[in-house]
Every structure is written in C-alpha cells, then in structure tokens.
Amino acid sequence: MKKQEKKKMIYMDYAATTPVDKKVVKAMLPYFTEKYGNTSSIHTMGTIANTVVNRVREEIANYISCQINEVYFTSSATESNNWALKCVASANKDKGNKIIISSIEHDCVLNSAEWLSKNGFNVEHAPVDEFGSVKLDELEKMMTKDTILVSVMHSNNEIGTIQPIEEIGKICKKKGILFHTDASQSFGKMPINVQKLNIDLLTASSHKIYGPKGVGLLYIKNGVKIDTFIHGGGHERGKRSSTVNVPAIVGFGKALEICIKEMYDEKLRLTNLRDKIIKNVLKNIPDSHLNGHPTKRLPNNIDIRFDFIEGEALMMELDMNGIEVSTVSACSSPKLQASHVLLSCGVEEKYAQGTIRITLGRYTKESEVKYLLEVLPKAVQKLRKISPMNIHNSE
C-alpha cells in the first residue's frame, strides 16, 4: 500500500485542549519511574511526593492570592464544578435551598445544577446581555435570603466573554452568599486574585494551559462549608480522597509556571492576532457576525457566525484544508440543540447554527493566521453555494 503523506494540520482549538509543553513533560517524567511515592506514605519516597505536591500547591496559592491549604487537587474541572455545586448545596441546606448560576455556564455546571434541582434545590439561571455578560442588576434581584450559592464562570468557553467577576463577588459578599467561579478558560491567561475578586470557590484545569489532562483544582476558601464529594482514604486533608496524581500535579505546576512567566507578552501577542482575524473576517466575509464582547473577551477567542450555512459543515471544510477549529452547532451537539450560550445572548436559533470557534495559543504563528484568512472566505463561499438559504443562490 502506498504510504500516505501526513498533512500538516494547523491547530486552532486551544480552548478545547492544548498540547503539553515539552518542558512540562520533562518535569513530569521522574515522577513516574523514580519518585513514584504515594503522598500518604510517610517513608522517604512518600515524603518526596508529598513535598513536591505541596510546592505546586504553594505556587498556585501565590498565583491566585490564597492560602496554601485552600487549594485542593482534583481529576478535572468537571469534577471540581460537580464538587463545588453539589457539596456546597448539601452542606448549606440548613441556610437555604436556592442556587443561582449564569445561563451560559459549561455543561458540567448546568447539569450539576439540574441534578440539584431534581433533588429539592431551587436553581435559577441569571440572564446575560447580547455580549454574554451577566446582567448585574438582575442577578442582584435574584439573590434572595434563601440563596446559598452563586456560580458564574470567569470567562465563557464558547464566546470568550469575560464576566464582571469583581462586581459579582462584591454583591455576594454584601449579601453573605457563597460565590463560585469556573475559571477553566481564564486560569493562567490573566492575573486572578481571589481576595480582590471576593471568590469563595474557584475551578481550574491543567490541560487548558499546556499541562497534562487528568488534573484540575478547586480553591475552597477556609471557613466555607462544603461536604466531601469523593470519599475514601482521606487524601487532600480528608476533603478529596483518591491516590494523588503526583506526575500530573507536577506537570500542572510547571505549566502554570511557564504561563505566568509568559503571561504579559502572550496576552498582547494573542490579542493582536485575535483582533486581526476578527477585523478581517467581518470586513471581507458578508453576513458574518462576532459572538460575544468585542473587547471584554479572552485574548485567544474568536467566535463568529455566518448566515446561510451550518457550523459543523464549515468546521469540516476547514479541517479538509488543514485547519482545526470547533463548532457548537445543533447538528454536532448530542442533544441536537443550538448553543445555549448563543440563545441566551438573544441570537435567534436560525442564526445560531452557523458558528465556529477559533481559539489561538502558544504555538499559533502569524503565517498560520494568514493561511486561515485565505481559506476561510473560500470555505464559507463553497458552503453558501450548496445552501438553499443563501439569497444569492436564488438568482
């Protein structure tokens, strides 16, 4: 059989996941074969493992300005979000039974909240404006005496909108309501100070910042009442059992270290590339629209919708041209529903179908952006030729 030549692909889906940085892999390796101890063991090998895990804990605590003993490692952001919602709810049910989440949360928050609502809690969704920012006045009105938790993501995974977290934190503090934020998309990309922002619980993940998959964290402010989610041998100071994934945590730490070092320059570089793409596409492709906020958005997120075509088809057309992006069109979602994020922003269902998300990252080159801007208009044009909805096809 003829050996097929492997096509070089351009990865522009960094919000889905990122490649692990080579320096991260190198830092992790000794913890598989040489320093493989269990953090619960008190012999030398166990102590080595315990020490390095606590060093990473300290690094994270320094980054988000919290105490070292407020950082708990988990297996993923999904686990952290499940833990935060379900176990804050159960531990505080004597205080009230209302939980408020934003209407544009990730599925793991939405579905945890839905599970809570089936189990006696009153869950309400705070609305967002056309840019996907939570409406502060409405959120405040929703906070009644029986509200125990508010959960609003730091930035949105689809449309990239950065939320007014500091203002939300202030209102929650004033009302004595616990505040959780899912910072999966923001962590490592911008400064986060949980004290300044009045955050009580924060979720983050390693694989979004060039670290390995399989490790995340939940910051829990000391004094916050929260039940245990994973019961067992009492790891993570009794709060989260399961043998500690030392190599992954070491990788998470190294990945964060690199992100912090490069944060300022990388933010500037990606913002420039992002704005170049947005400006070019909106100008050169007719009937295209930006989703999310024009400026209060993640430096690497471009979420654009095109009329008359469908997102999955556009994503695959780009894939065939060597560019990997993502879509949240109804057709590619397990429930065959349009993106709840776009619908919450007031985008009509028929317009919500043709959206693709382009997310840039550490290895995105200027030449790749140039190639994208060549290919994208042609791809849109090709699919519009197929579509009966395209008004230009009726002539």
Binding site: D307, F308, I309, E310, E312, A313, M316, E317, M320, S329, A330, C331, S332, P334, L336, Q337, A338, E349, K350, Q353, K385, I386, S387, P388, M389, I391, N393, S394
Partner: protein
C-alpha cells in the same frame, strides 16, 4: 466520525444546484437539527414509464445532511417513481458505509425530500397519489410550517 464516502460526498457533492423549471420540488427541514433540504426533479417518459431524468439538490446543514442529499440524488437518478420511493434511509446509510447514530435523521430527511418532490410532480399533474405518499406529505407539511415560521426572512428571498 464520518466514513470516507461521507466525506467524499461532502468534498465534491454530486448533482448540486437548482433545476430551473423543475417538474417537481421537495422542500423539507428538520428543525431539531437545523437542516433544510431542497430537491428538484425533472421527469421524462422512457419506454412508456416515467423516470427521474434529472435531479439536483441544495442543502443547508451539516456534513451528513449534505452527503445524504447528494447520495440520494445519485441513487434515484434514472429510476421510476416506484423504484425511487423504495429507497429507504437504510439504503442511503449503507451506500455511505454508515452514518454516526446521531446523524441518522439526516438520511430520513433525504428520503422525505425525495417523496415531497415526487408528490409535488404528481399533484401538479393531477395524478393519483398513493396513500402512503399522501400521509408522508401531510406529515412533512406540518413540519414545514414550523420551518417557515422560523426561516421566514430567508425563505422570503427564495421566491423564484
């Protein structure tokens, strides 16, 4: 996720476009998925039987929607109505070497578009319509009402 055949159809769709002065047009849409399919047929008599002599499609939808509509046009071109209406979703899926389970409805949509195009031809020419086709048509009309409400602005621009 998709088979090579599906991707080939998507890459280079066969029988793409619109037939001006088509003898029958089938317009269907599955709003759950956001797919809209238009099928155009030309009919001519050959050896005393009517056959679909030409067929073209336009589709707003995902990869599977585009591939299934293109595949169905190939499968029924040159066929009699009776033969064409026997083409089921399973035949379309087989011809594509399979579809992901979540995309099965796209193949249903393709068969519905075909049935609608044939219905349109038969009713325009005051011809008897088989009962199953009449029932299928009623169902599709109901779905299309939903569709038109939601796509009003776009479809308004589609008047020939």
């Amino acid at each position: 996720m998709y088979t090579k055949k599906v991707l080939d159809y998507f890459k280079k769709p066969k029988n793409l476009g619109k037939i001006k002065n088509a003898d029958g047009v089938g317009k269907v849409g599955n709003m759950a998925c956001g797919d809209v399919m238009h099928l155009y047929i030309k009919v001519k008599e050959e050896k005393g039987k009517e056959i679909i002599s030409d067929i073209k499609f336009q589709t707003f939808g995902c990869v599977a929607a585009i591939a299934t509509s293109s595949a169905v046009t190939e499968m029924v071109k040159g066929k009699t109505f009776e033969e064409a209406l026997k083409v089921g979703k399973g035949d379309i899926i087989d011809s594509l070497d399979g579809l992901p389970p979540i995309k099965i409805h796209c193949s249903v949509l393709a068969t519905e578009a075909l049935a609608e195009a044939i219905y349109d031809y038969l009713s325009k020419n005051n011809r008897p319509i088989p009962e199953f086709l009449e029932k299928q048509h009623e169902k599709t009309v109901k779905e299309n009402e939903m569709l038109e409400e939601r796509y009003e602005e776009w479809t308004e621009n589609q008047q020939d």
